[in-house]
């Protein structure tokens, strides 16, 4: 059972991304109106806009939160070829009374020569680190060595993907058995560009990221990509938003069988492929335990996918963008109960470009 709540966002143009913070009580939206808005959830469950400011000189494509261990920190990336890191300043008591908070820019990352299409913070066990990807096909990884000084970021790695990149995802697994890993998706439409998903893995010996795998079967433009949280599995699960929803498992092949020192080889299997959206799928997002995947598409619907105890994936819920129920969704009985409140566990965003609809 789902409850839909509409929020009048007041952005003056298309909203491209929505991101919840770690605890699900704060939300950031970004738009082609070049601004970012931060929303806070009150005790009664209402969302209030507590900050709204111009962040870039072009459309802002994505916005993302850092782990709260680093404080209240946001990163945004834009068509204006930059990515920026923002920190919330504890305001004057006047501001607090009015329910407003103040965000300051800590740094601007200007290395890209083209539109920066995605920015994501690395898992917290790697320190304060983020990755950006650009239309020029380069993934850049930055680190802030002093977490108390957010103005100092250094470019640690530049990974060339040879294809225009559209999205990235860090593998959240903190297991010592897994090296840091990042998946990159491409929406490159040139005829030479075939396989659109690449996986890069950090090598302790060379201290560099090297390509570990390419998903050869994904040949259509990829709009979003997301590693699932790891419940102690030895293998990884990756969801891809392309012309349909696809879920892959990547099982590391035992190291002794591969040449030592090289990147891990993976057995790749596709465990699910759903074209129910019947149109381009723009976003995929996992819940906390990596057991439910949410996808959104050009059909204006959000679909939820879940595996049963036999590891068969099925659709367990359909939500219309305007909050109305979809007929024939008898699977609603199986979906995660909301107990009357919004489930902040599910993070997803509607594609801003579909019907130019303001996020409601």
């Amino acid at each position: 059972m789902f409850v839909a709540r509409s929020i009048a966002a007041d952005h003056k143009d298309l909203i491209h991304d929505v991101s919840f913070d770690f605890h699900g009580r704060r939300m950031a939206t970004c738009s082609s109106d070049q601004s970012v808005k931060v929303w806070d959830k009150s005790e009664s469950g209402d969302w209030h806009c507590t900050a709204s400011w111009k962040t870039h000189s072009g459309s802002v494509w994505r916005v993302t939160w850092a782990h709260p261990e680093f404080g209240q920190v946001l990163a945004s990336c834009s068509f204006d070829r930059t990515a920026a890191v923002w920190e919330e300043i504890v305001g004057e008591s006047n501001d607090k009374l009015r329910g407003q908070s103040h965000w300051v820019k800590r740094t601007t990352l200007v290395d890209s020569r083209t539109s920066v299409t995605d920015v994501k913070f690395a898992p917290k066990h790697m320190g304060l680190m983020l990755a950006t990807c650009s239309a020029d096909g380069i993934v850049r990884i930055y680190e802030a060595p002093d977490v108390m000084n957010l103005s100092q970021w250094s470019l640690q790695h530049e990974i060339s993907c040879k294809l225009s990149c559209s999205c990235i995802s860090w593998n959240p697994s903190s297991s010592r058995a897994h090296s840091p890993m990042i998946a990159v998706g491409s929406d490159d439409s040139s005829p030479n560009a075939m396989a659109k998903v690449q996986i890069f893995e950090y090598n302790e010996n060379t201290r560099k990221y090297a390509k570990a795998e390419t998903l050869m079967t994904v040949t259509d433009p990829v709009h979003d990509i997301a590693f699932a949280p790891n419940l102690g599995r030895s293998f990884h699960i990756l969801a891809i938003a392309t012309k349909d929803v696809r879920i892959f498992t990547l099982k590391p092949v035992r190291k002794e069988l591969t040449s030592s020192g090289g990147p891990t080889k993976f057995e790749i299997h596709i465990v699910a492929q759903f074209d129910n959206h019947n149109s381009q799928v723009w976003r995929v997002s996992w819940n906390i335990t990596g057991t439910v995947l949410a996808s959104s598409g050009d059909d204006g619907c959000v679909r939820l996918w879940k595996a049963n105890y036999m590891d068969n994936w099925k659709c367990t819920g359909i939500l219309k963008g305007n909050g109305s129920p979809v007929s024939g969704s008898s699977q609603q009985g199986n979906s995660n109960p909301s107990l009357g409140s919004n489930t902040p566990n599910l993070q997803h965003s509607l594609n801003g470009s579909s019907a130019g609809r303001k996020h409601s």
Partner: protein, 544 residues
Amino acid sequence: MEEMHQAAIAAKDASSSRQLSSQVSILSAMELIWNLCEILFIEVAPAGPLLLHLLDWVRLHICEVDSLLADVLGSENPSKHESFWKLVTILVLQGRLDEARQMLSKEADANPTSAGMCRILGDLMRTMPVLSPGNTQTLTELELKWQHWHEECERHLQDSTFASSPHLESLCKIMLGDEAALLEQKEHLNNWYHFLVTRLLYSHPTVKPTDLHFYAQSSLDLFLGGESSPEPLDNILMAAFEFDIHQVIKECSIALSNWWFVAHLTDLLDHCKLLQSHNLYFGSNMREFLLLEYASGLFAHHSLWQLGVDYFDYCPELGRVSLELHIERIPLSTEWKALKVLRICEQRQMTEQVRSVCKILAMKAVRNNRLGSALSWSIRAKDAAFATLVSDRFLRDYCEHGCFSDLDLIDNLGPAMMLSDRLTFLGKYREFHRLYGEKRFVDASFLLLSLMTSQIAPRSFWMTLLTDALPLLEQKQVIFSAEQTYELMRCLEDLTSGRPLCGEPDTQQLQDDDIEATKVEMLRLALARNLARAIIKEGSLEGS
């Protein structure tokens, strides 16, 4: 459930009344299903006792007869009560023949003409063979006796014994298990499973569990009579009568809107080792799967998440890691909530989660300039690096404002002081101030010196420490010994010689340098004077 029922009746407006009523009916349905599962799967009642259990089941879930019974008995003339025959019929349908007989005797008393018939029917009721618990007769014996009794009832019917009373005649037909007669009582039976049980009571009392589903299916069909189709509840009960546990769980999952019922039922069945024996090789996987689903759902609630913790504890495979992932996400809106989360994590040795939660809170405190809070969270997280950072802030604050905030905390650090060097220094430095305040100058001086010589004082702080030494140097009595004074002088020289000169000093820096230079001068003077006095004191004989 009783309360909800009362609330539903007392509800002020129609919609809340409807909602409460629907909740009541859902709970009743769950109870119904649960009890049936207990009888069929857990008790595993064999033929004979099976029927008795089913009778109890029916009687338990249809309670209106008791109030009606009280009503009728309490009236002036029970047998003239408008609901008298309704009551008797219901009693017979439920197999409560003793009470039915009592009712008939009241009728016999009130109405002499029918007394004879009442007596006969009453005798039939009394003599119906039932399997009573503890009875040693075998099933075959029971069947035989029952057959005889059945034939006797049949004879009475053929002889038109009850012809003059349609009520009594219909009762007799019911007791013969006549389907048509039973179906006439649809209104009193209310549902097909009551019909099933009554039918079994009066036609196949020794029904075997394996045959149950035949009768169940035909009862359902007869009762619905093609007018309506089975509801989800009917499907669930039917699956139970077919002993298809998996189907029961599946149907319940579909029909109910949350996992509570299914999770608990599956858990119970798993504990009774029933899931394996029913060929569900993934049985305990399914139990854990459902429990995880239910617990995850609880975590979405602002206070029920605490129950979810216990459920995760009982999931051997994925419970711990699921709990780790969920508990990190609980919003730490109040200190109380944070402490609860920490206690839960500490009890389960989830050290990483403890560290993370404390770090989040410490960071929040630092940003809000609540240094004491930040320090206590860092200590709890055993985060030496952050403790150092916060201690530095404290010291910086002291330099700027000349006093400490959060004295209580620093005074009572205890062994936690050892977490980081900077923290130890902070604690000891505060102790120095305390000693000075208590005028225990000698102790204070020893402490001050040890702080400087033991290297735990950060270099940036040495000037402040030396400046703190000034009042001690200027006291009337000599506090620092010659030896100690030499140490202090050495530290001062160390400090002044070690300071690098940076590029082009601007006016502010020049001013600062001026102040620094003056301080150094004062210190040198004070140290020299103290040295002189100390040498004299130490060189003199006592008392002179």
